[in-house]
């Protein structure tokens, strides 16, 4: 229809209270192109795409798709214009089936009322009546025809998916394929993928890339959001770089090096190297033997983990999300009940003890989900800074508590750990801090107590680069002070940069052990997915067990 690019976004502006998320950003994507959108966390990539998908209303600028102006009030409008999006956090409803998730919002009528249906005994003119079809679209639901179409699409792209299965029975890779099916089912011309590899194993990521290339060959335009340079080089044709909400530039991927991209992304030379002194390793601070525990559904998530951490040592736990990491972290701090095994901190056997006892024995914890477990977002910085230490005698003896002392303590933490944006620790709410500053506050609270053991689960996820450096250095400093650290991360670079020893967790077991100096990254990546030969699909028994435990909702 036009010679110009398929999608053109011009001068798009979006402001949130206090921040300009997108400052007059331009983006042009051609037909059949895989276009990378590169930037750090908080650079405005997701905001830009949520505007394109109708979730946010822009405060300025213009969007044209195929030459026509695009005014989106809701995702519904975006869908109708042929735009699909695979969100970073999957937009799937676990209790519903694959087919139900795919057709949701499409209002597929029952076969009896389907206009093009051949074996319906209702006369065609009746079925085509506007009132009848309107009612049928609301008050009936036909999954047979859609299920067939979804199965066909899945076969076409080599997806191994049972359309009748509930989402919660699928693994992460399969769930992502359902997300892509949702878009394909709606015949999209433009597909947005927001950090799609964040939750995938290296092998699954490869598979995803194959799929995307096949889609692009068929003329689909793809916007691929990422902050990983490697992926940009591997998959995209061109790449647009965002920094602090501004457009830094668009380049042909083949014409630039990774270093060039890194400079564009961060705005300065980045040499992410941490000077790490050799560890002075002391006595064991943690001894865990044969840990077994179940997840929320009562399915075994830890199947006999042995773990010893010595003072002054960082033990990195690598693995793909959902292989028992959260359960392990919680078991090590007394939050998750063990079905078997023992945990000892220093000389104290704490098997079955309350979280309180673990804290008293010098265990600190940085949970994976800052807002859910790490803080009370509606309470002030003062409450959050002191939530583990308020029992200490220095804040007053007996039943009474000296709130002035608590405030002083909170101020000390804020100052020493460079938590920015806090004027008054009793007024500022924890939830109003940025992700990086909140994480600094949490780390401050956990480390200022000078713990024996620190259990840190994804301590730098979703945090800006400046804060990441600070957080990592702080953890290394603490190691030198003699704290033993369990570092759980899905970011292999982080594991390799910080750890003294590396353990790979797979399906609730420690599958492999190595050190950063000896390690072969490929081998580690392979072990994360269950070793040779498998590609990360669930085994037959675990899927069967899931089916047996499941109870559908309809």
């Amino acid at each position: 229809m036009t010679d110009g690019p398929f999608l053109r976004m011009e001068d798009v502006l979006k402001e949130f209270p206090g921040v300009v998320a997108n400052d007059e950003v331009d983006l042009a994507v051609g037909r059949g192109e895989i276009h990378g959108l590169l930037g750090e966390n908080g650079a405005g990539k997701s905001t830009l795409m949520k505007i394109l998908y109708g979730l946010y209303a822009p405060d300025g600028g213009e969007i044209r798709l195929d030459g026509r102006r695009l005014d989106l009030d809701s995702p519904q409008d975006a869908i109708e214009r042929g735009i699909g999006m695979v969100h970073q956090h999957f937009m799937l409803i676990p209790r519903l089936t694959v087919a139900e998730n795919v057709v949701l919002g499409e209002r597929e009528p029952s076969a009896l009322f389907r206009a093009e249906s051949e074996d319906s005994w209702l006369p065609e003119s009746f079925r085509e009546n506007r009132v009848v079809s309107g009612l049928a679209r609301r008050f009936s639901l036909g999954l047979d025809v859609p299920e067939q179409r979804i199965a066909d699409l899945a076969e076409e792209y080599g997806f191994d998916i049972d359309v009748g299965a509930s989402i919660w029975q699928l693994n992460v890779g399969q769930q992502q394929r359902v997300e892509i099916l949702k878009a394909l089912y709606r015949d999209v011309d433009l597909l947005i993928l927001d950090e799609p590899t964040a939750v995938l194993t290296p092998n699954e990521a490869e598979r995803l890339f194959d799929t995307l290339e096949r889609l692009a060959e068929r003329g689909l335009s793809i916007v691929f959001i990422t902050h990983k340079l490697k992926e940009v080089k591997a998959i995209t044709d061109r790449v647009t770089v965002l920094r602090e909400g501004e457009n830094v530039g668009t380049v042909d991927t083949s014409s630039v090096s990774r270093a060039d991209l890194a400079r564009m992304m961060v705005g300065r030379e980045v040499l992410f190297q941490i000077d790490k002194d050799p560890a002075e390793i002391g006595d064991p601070v943690l001894r865990a033997e044969n840990l077994r525990a179940e997840d929320e559904r009562g399915i075994e998530a830890l199947s006999g983990v042995d773990l010893t951490v010595r003072s002054g040592e960082i033990v990195g736990i690598a693995g793909v999300s959902g292989n028992g990491q959260s359960e392990l972290a919680e078991a090590l701090v007394g939050l998750r009940e063990l079905t078997d095994g023992r945990v000892a901190i220093a000389d104290a056997d704490l098997t079955g003890a309350s979280p309180r006892r673990f804290i008293d024995e010098g265990v600190s914890f940085v949970p994976e989900d800052r807002l859910e477990y790490g803080c009370a977002e509606d309470l002030s910085v003062m409450y959050n800074a002191t939530m583990k230490d308020f029992r200490d005698d220095r804040f007053g003896g007996g039943y009474f508590l000296d709130y002035d002392e608590l405030e002083t303590y909170a101020e000390t933490l804020v100052e020493e750990f460079d938590v920015r944006g806090v004027r008054d620790t009793t007024e500022m709410l924890a939830g109003d801090l940025s992700g990086g500053n909140l994480q600094k506050l949490i780390l401050a609270r956990e480390l200022y107590r000078d713990p024996r053991l620190l259990v840190a689960n994804q301590p730098t996820r979703g945090v800006d680069v400046g804060a990441i450096e600070f957080l990592r250095e702080t953890i290394l400093d603490q190691r030198e002070a003699g704290t033993g650290v369990v570092l759980i991360s899905e970011d292999l670079d982080e594991i390799f940069d910080l750890s003294d020893r590396i353990l790979v967790i797979y399906e609730g077991e420690i599958a492999y052990e190595t050190t950063p100096t000896e390690a072969d990254r490929k081998r580690v990546g392979l072990e994360m997915t269950g070793g040779e030969g498998t590609d990360g699909e669930p085994t037959a028994d675990s899927a069967d067990q899931a089916v047996a435990d499941g109870r559908g909702d309809s």
């Binding site: 998908y53 979730l55 946010y56 869908i79 937009m91 929320e296 909702d553």
Partner: protein, 330 residues
């Protein structure tokens, strides 16, 4: 004895209808993600409104319908506050119960002595006259007021609506994960309004059934906690319409027993061991005021057993219940 059982069964069916209406409405509302604790208030408003309209117009059907609309009007307040303004669902619901109680006591005093001829009892159309002769259960099941039949018919209707239609799928999606529903093009606000308003309509007619069919009179506070029992029943029913019927019959039975407690006197003979202890104990448990507590205690017990037996995942609580939704709050 057969006569007593038949009578008790009959009273059970009649007493359960109000709970069927109210809990079906609450199931729809909660499936969409909105807890409505205003059921009790909406029922009272429906009971009085339906009663007044029936007295004035002489048409119990009109009264029944107006009661539903009054329930919708109350529900509209709840929907506006909790969906449009993201207010706390618990606070809004409790206040609507207080509001409904206050309004009906305020306006209802002059109607207390009025009498009406409410819904008459008829046999079920077509087959009823043949089946009503079945011993013990015939009268209970096949000779009822029209709302009793409607309530029973609504159970499969609501089941079909929730689990076999596109609107039902969208309602469930909105109650499970409004953000996902939104990205799939489901109008979250409209669906939630729809659910809350249907819930209000059902609560309104539940009240009207109480005043027009069950009691055929109006007394302030006549719902006596039935709205709250309905809320508890939804948990017992695990948010499934067909299971609500079981709960409704259980509480209908307790209600029926309470009404009949004066007629029962059970004592052991004086020669039985410990008769001196057993008989006063029997007197206590059969005392009308003590029997009046059984529906409430049974609700707590049933709630406890249900919650202990299932974890929240198995229980089937809609995942986004109590969660307000607005797009730009990242």
């Amino acid at each position: 004895m057969a006569g007593f059982v038949a009578g008790l069964l009959d009273a059970t069916v009649r007493a359960s209808t109000v709970l069927v209406f109210a809990s079906l409405g609450e199931i729809i509302s909660e499936r969409g993600g909105v807890l409505n604790l205003g059921v009790e208030g909406m029922m009272l408003v429906g009971a009085l409104g339906g009663f007044v309209v029936t007295v004035v117009s002489g048409s119990y059907w009109l009264g029944f319908f107006v009661a539903g609309l009054l329930g919708v009007a109350m529900a509209l307040i709840h929907a506006f506050l909790t969906i449009s303004l993201s207010s706390d669902q618990v606070i809004s619901g409790i206040m609507l119960t207080l509001l409904g109680t206050g309004l009906t006591t305020f306006f209802g005093q002059e109607w207390v002595s009025e009498s009406i001829s409410g819904f008459p009892r008829t046999t079920l159309p077509l087959v009823g006259e043949y089946l009503v002769g079945i011993p013990v259960v015939g009268e209970a099941l096949f000779r009822s007021t029209a709302p009793d039949f409607i309530a029973l018919a609504l159970i499969p209707v609501v089941w079909f609506f929730l689990f076999r239609t596109n609107l039902g799928l969208e309602i469930i999606s909105v109650g499970e994960d409004p953000e996902t529903a939104d990205t799939m093009g489901v109008d979250v606000f409209r669906m939630r309004y729809l659910c809350v308003l249907i819930g209000g309509f059902f609560a309104g007619i539940a009240g009207a059934h109480l005043s027009l069919a069950f009691s055929q009179l109006w007394v302030p506070g006549m719902t006596a906690g039935r709205g709250w029992i309905a809320v508890a029943l939804v948990i017992f029913a695990q948010w499934r319409p067909e299971r609500a019927l079981i709960g409704a019959y259980l509480f209908g039975l307790l209600d029926a027993l309470k009404l009949r407690s004066q007629a029962i006197s059970v004592q052991v003979g004086a020669e039985t061991p410990f008769a001196g202890t057993i008989n006063p104990a029997l007197d206590f448990v059969m005392h009308p005021t003590i029997m009046a507590t059984y529906p409430y205690l049974a609700t707590i017990l049933v709630l406890f057993v249900t919650v202990v037996r299932f974890d929240s995942e198995q229980l089937g609580v809609p995942s986004a219940l109590l969660e307000a939704y607005s797009r730009e709050t990242d």
